[in-house]
Subunit: 408 residues, 2 copies
């Protein structure tokens, strides 16, 4: 097989064209899962795949698979990521993994090469989980970590269910979600953190993930007037929640470098300018590469909440509603990526993913691995998210070479 | 003039009937200003006034005046309060002042007494200021502290303007808002705090108000991924806002007993479960009976925000958009209330109002005074807000007697 090269200009141009769907005022992307914009992005991907003689299959959650026939009756090599973004998203998170996979298909098509194993390009539904919780919904149901029925019933803040959103945009296919005939699933993704840039490496070989634990928290105090009620008699749920936000932050700082934490979401009731709040809800998470430390961080969070609740004489309820990881990716699949990079004289670094990714879910039901490309400034989930054309091309080249190593 | 008595049963029954309009699940009231429920409450008041031979006048902001003719060409004695509530409101805040005023009109009507001065029962528009900012909007425009045009342009969080809400429910009248021919404005109100109860007094004679200063605050950080971004590189607007919430609370605790503070309102963006927040908005206030101390509390708040912004490398913008007080109420009007209570063997306590009230605005353009009745447990802006039938009757009796002293 001749040495094949990706086309950096084409790949970059695909990124810029995809970013025209749901552009944010600050230059990023805002393409919520199962929205009209997501449907438009999917339609563009389908149009790009059409000349490549791929067979499209969709499952009932909208996960989409573009299959390229192989020479032999072998399990397929799959690769891909997601096209949905967070509201303050960038142009690379998820998108680069899908478009690098598209580039693999295009290079092979142009070179008229048929691999021994079939290939599949995957676009997973609702990886971000901002509109519909939880994150990695499509790959999660695929892997059996959540039932299809549970996922279809999830509602966004406006009351629309996943089932309704799928129907509105005709995104559901006939297949029941579930494991496919895959020998491996590879995912290219931007790092979303600063490690590759600060250590000067070209490619991250993701050997697994941290453990992440997610919490929905409800603080229940008592409403009162913001003026006459004396300070010590207040049961101010917002002030208690503020203490908890800072406790979560301290737990993450103490957990570094292997750990992180965050509180990203808050609602407050009555949220009225003259009334001390009585119900404040938070969403928080803790993460650590050592699962025992992650569990300890959760215990610290629960202890901090108990102390705040006792001292302030109000109630704090913590629902540890989901987790991911730790996952250890397939060593052979990771080796294929590492070897492919080395053969191209690219420098690599083995690392753990701190965020959830579809490959984390896929790893539950097939051998999986990931490669990271650098994020300039470590910035992600931000309109300023950026990877250079060279970063993107490097990653796609390694993906192509690894696919050929596994499927040839 | 014979000694006249209010009818406690009738007055209590009016309260309970009014509470049927916009009942909250927890037994309180939720009757936002200029909503359909507010319109329904106003219609019920109008129906109750109809048999009393009162002339209704409305101004362009919906402030409503029920005028009872006097024997002589003298300035009127006015009294009243408001029927709107906060979302977690009780059955007495504002309502008791309007219904006690209605009771005054009923007693005089039944006794066929015409006072020398005309009387006016007032229902002010949007005292609470939760749906449309600022609070005391109707009395504020009446007093010239805000123009009618400014008030009509204010929009609620759903984008509806005051002008649109007035038009939707046909609540605007033909009169330009502004001072009327009043010799005095008296307002009965629940205390909304614990002082009368803990000191065992029947009636509070409100001699003035604290100074209150209100702030809209915007914290601007930078969005990033909640996982991979290392803790020290985050510019987390929610965490910074949490520090500010606690700083405001500390400033209020240090300011007691004469001072208070609160942060009641928060919005967070993108408020997405996978993204560190970059824009968080707060509404806070500081209050103190000594205006110099209130100014010092504001300075402390600004200094705390500056320290947080510098340390966290983000921006905090503070808009001190409005204030009220200090107001000193009219000593003659207050004396009429104090003497009326004493003549009924009720115990009184002179005190300052810590919350804003319509009388605070009315005091800018006519002699004004207030009386407080006890709030059980000091609870207000809470479905559990409660004053006993005896508290309410005592207050209405003092109001009636004081009105007769001033208008006879």
């Amino acid at each position: 097989m001749p040495e094949l090269s990706v086309n950096p200009q084409r790949l970059w141009s695909d990124h810029m064209r995809m970013a025209e769907i749901g552009p944010s005022p600050e230059g990023g992307s805002n393409r919520p899962a199962l929205s009209a914009l997501d449907a438009e992005a999917r339609a563009m991907l389908a149009a790009w795949c059409e000349p490549l003689a791929l067979a499209e299959e969709r499952d009932a959650l909208g996960n989409t698979f573009y299959r390229r026939a192989g020479r032999d009756a072998r399990p397929a090599i799959a690769f891909g990521s997601h096209l949905d973004t967070v509201p303050t998203g960038g142009r690379f998170d998820g998108v680069s993994g899908v478009l690098a996979g598209l580039e693999v298909m295009r290079v092979l098509h142009q070179a008229r090469i048929t691999t021994s194993a079939p290939l599949e390009l995957v676009n997973w539904t609702n990886e971000e989980g901002t509109r519909f919780r939880p994150a990695m919904m499509g790959s999660r149901v695929h892997a059996g970590d959540m039932t299809l029925q549970q996922a279809l019933a999830v509602r966004d803040d406006a009351g629309t269910s996943v089932a309704e959103a799928l129907a509105e945009h005709r995104l559901a296919g006939p297949n029941p979600p579930g494991p496919r005939d895959w020998a491996a699933f590879l995912e290219l993704h931007i790092e979303q953190g600063p490690v590759l840039e600060t250590t000067g490496r070209d490619i991250g070989i993701v050997t697994g993930t941290v453990q992440a634990r997610y919490f929905q928290i409800v603080v229940t105090g008592a409403p009162s007037h913001a003026g006459p009620m004396t300070m010590e008699r207040r049961r101010d749920s917002l002030a208690a929640a503020a203490e908890l936000v800072l406790a979560v932050e301290r737990i993450g700082i103490a957990g570094e470098p292997g750990g992180r934490s965050s509180t990203t979401w808050i609602t407050n009731s009555p949220n009225a300018r003259g009334a001390v709040a009585n119900i404040t809800r938070l969403h928080s998470d803790v993460r650590h590469e050592d699962p025992a430390r992650a569990a300890a961080m959760q215990a610290e969070l629960i202890a901090a909440a108990a102390e705040i609740a006792t001292r302030r004489q109000l109630a704090i309820d913590i629902d540890p509603y989901t987790t991911f990881g730790p996952v250890r990716f397939d060593t052979a699949a990771a080796a294929a990526l590492r070897d492919a990079a080395a053969a191209r004289q690219m420098t690599t670094r083995d690392m753990l993913a701190v965020a959830g990714h579809d490959a984390v879910m896929a790893a539950l039901v097939c051998p999986a691995a990931m490669l990271f490309i650098p994020s300039v400034g470590g910035i992600s989930h931000n309109p300023g998210e950026y990877s250079t054309p060279q970063h993107v091309a490097n990653g796609a080249q390694v993906l192509l070479d690894a696919v050929l190593r596994l499927a040839a």
